[in-house]
Amino acid sequence: MTDNKLINLENISKSYGDNIVLDELNLYIRENEFLTLLGPSGCGKTTTLRIIGGFETPDQGRVIFEGKDITNLPPNERQLNTVFQKYALFNHMTISENIAFGLKIKKKSKEYIKDKIKYALKLVNLEGYENRMPDSLSGGQQQRIAIARAIVNEPKVLLLDEPLGALDLKLRQDMQYELIRLKNELGITFIYVTHDQEEALTMSDTIVVMNQGYIQQIGTPEDIYNEPKNAFVADFIGDSNIIASTMVEDRLVNILGTNFPCVDTGFGRNQPVDVVIRPEDIDLVKPEDGIIQGRVTSLIFKGVHYEMDVMANGHEWLVHSTDLFPVGSEVGLYVDPFDIQIMNKPTSEDEEAVEIEE
């Protein structure tokens, strides 16, 4: 990944009738970056991708590609290729005809096309499928052909619109690693759209969290997970305890009546804030060692860890722990100061958690 800005979206707005899908969106994508647009359905992520691909025109704003304004350029004149959600293979053509489609349009030589087909099929582990028809392939295989069909054109950017959405869990996980490998081998920019936060965290260099047409946070997977900017991001990325609290002073927050030391500064004195504590960041200890005390009210075995609800200070805390505390046991809750993430209160509806815990 370099610092070269390859694509720049400037003040992009788009609405369908009364429905505003994107509102003054600004975003840049660096060369050789794996950038994921993440958000719930209707957040505008697919529309953003389609505007970059040229399938939609923004009502307002510009799309800059390598310094040139391509806002009104049709898709066939853009140096990028797309992998569609439902594969969109040409069912009346064989696999090699599908892969050759873009190259034939560009009038490449027969030899070149033949080599490229071979190379692309090898890259997606489907050697020997040249003469099969698309509908004789499984979903995962079809999606890999769709990727092969796109990358033979040597695009500078590959757009992927929920490409794994139609696949089952195991295949999806395998394909995630395939995509990372492909990205590294090809050395090109990937712009990936998904609503699956795990997929986004696994593959991306940069995640753009979107909701209701606005960008909520841009950052590395670690940033997004550990330091969510608002309740929406905290809630959408993984499980979390989001609790309305008061910032007493710098490095001290009052959560449900108890003062917790933290590391955040600059929120002012006695200001209402939201606090995010990840369930795995809460340590269950002996009652006297905890900052607050509570009682375990439910226990579920999740494989890697136990998921427990602990009632303390009138709030159900979600806790993940590898240690087992049976239902009814008295426990202490301890949170390291740097595991407490302080956020400003949402200023608009799109920044709110889907279900905020008061």
Binding site: G53, G54, F55, P74, P75, N76, N81, T82, F84, Q85, K86, A88, L89, F90, N91, H92, F101, G102, I105, K106, A146, R149, A150, N153
Partner: protein, 298 residues
């Protein structure tokens, strides 16, 4: 009615609960049972009449086997009627295709709500009686008909369309156009928008996308449209009688006359020849039509 009763008894002997396999067998029988009314219909009104035509066509009045009826197609009048019917139905089919395909493309692009309205307008004429519509055209095209009255009113030269091939083609196109539009429209709306986007994405311009993606994917609809226009055009005698007068005789008129005159054997023989032409054209078409779009109806 013995057979369906047997099937029914079997179903009662083997309750569906027994096992999955038997449940399936029961279901298959049930499905077969449902098709019986149609099978009886088909045998009574399609298979038996066809066999009768075959029988009459290959025999003379004294029930002796003969190919004379079929050979009558080489009679100059009959041959001319067949060739003219082929020519006119081919022209009508091409005109229908040229009118229908662009329309279907427009319908595909438009929003769905306005589409149902346009489709309704296309189908609307079919709500009126076929004969009535054709007679209406006769009134419009007649020497003293509506068009010529208007032309005369403005002191313009009058048209002589009635009783010409052009009038028959007009009648065929008017009556059979919906059968071309609907199957083409049906395949075109099924083409995934992202498939077209993918072609554009891979560098194809509008023309290339149409020729390499949309057109090949719509072939089944085109084939079925051609069949559904060409076959009834080739066999029609009503349109040619009403709009062609006595001057223009198509093979359909010849066959009709033979039956009216009581020459069942000659009429059947000529019908068999016509059937060969239809089967031959359908065989050619079916080569291009892998997933048939209703053309099996004919």
């Amino acid at each position: 009615m013995k057979v369906p009763l047997n099937v029914k008894n079997k179903m009662f002997q083997k309750p569906a609960k027994d096992s999955d396999k038997e449940f399936k067998i029961g279901r298959v029988n049930q499905v077969k049972l449902l098709s019986f009314p149609y099978i009886i219909w088909m045998v009574g009104f399609i298979i038996i009449p066809l066999l009768m035509i075959l029988y009459y066509g290959l025999t003379d009045r004294d029930n002796n086997l003969t190919f004379k009826n079929i050979a009558l197609i080489s009679d100059p009048i009959n041959r001319k009627a067949l060739l003219l019917a082929l020519e006119l139905s081919l022209i009508s089919t091409i005109i229908c295709l040229l009118l229908a395909y662009p329309l279907a493309m427009v319908l595909r692009k438009n929003h769905k709500t306005s589409n149902s309205f346009i489709v309704l307008i296309i189908i609307l004429p079919m709500w009126m009686n076929f004969l009535l519509r054709t007679i209406a055209w006769q009134n419009i095209l007649e020497k003293t008909g509506i068009i010529n009255s208007i032309l005369q009113f403005f002191h313009l030269p009058t048209l002589n369309i009635i009783n010409t091939s052009a009038a028959i083609i007009l009648g065929m196109v008017y009556n059979f156009l919906p059968f071309m539009v609907l199957p083409i429209y049906n395949v075109l709306v099924k083409v995934d928008k992202d498939v077209i986007n993918a072609a554009r994405d891979l560098g194809a311009n509008g023309r290339q996308t149409f020729l390499k993606i949309i057109l090949p994917l719509s072939i089944p609809g085109v084939v079925s449209g051609i069949t559904m226009v060409f076959v009834p055009s080739l066999t029609t005698f009503v349109i040619s009688t009403i709009l062609g007068g006595s001057k223009i005789v198509l093979i359909g008129n010849v066959i009709e006359q033979q039956f009216r005159l009581g020459n069942w054997n000659t009429g059947s023989g000529l019908s068999l020849v016509l059937m060969v032409f239809i089967l031959f054209s359908m065989a050619i078409l079916s080569k291009y039509d892998k997933e048939s779009e209703g053309s099996n109806l004919w």
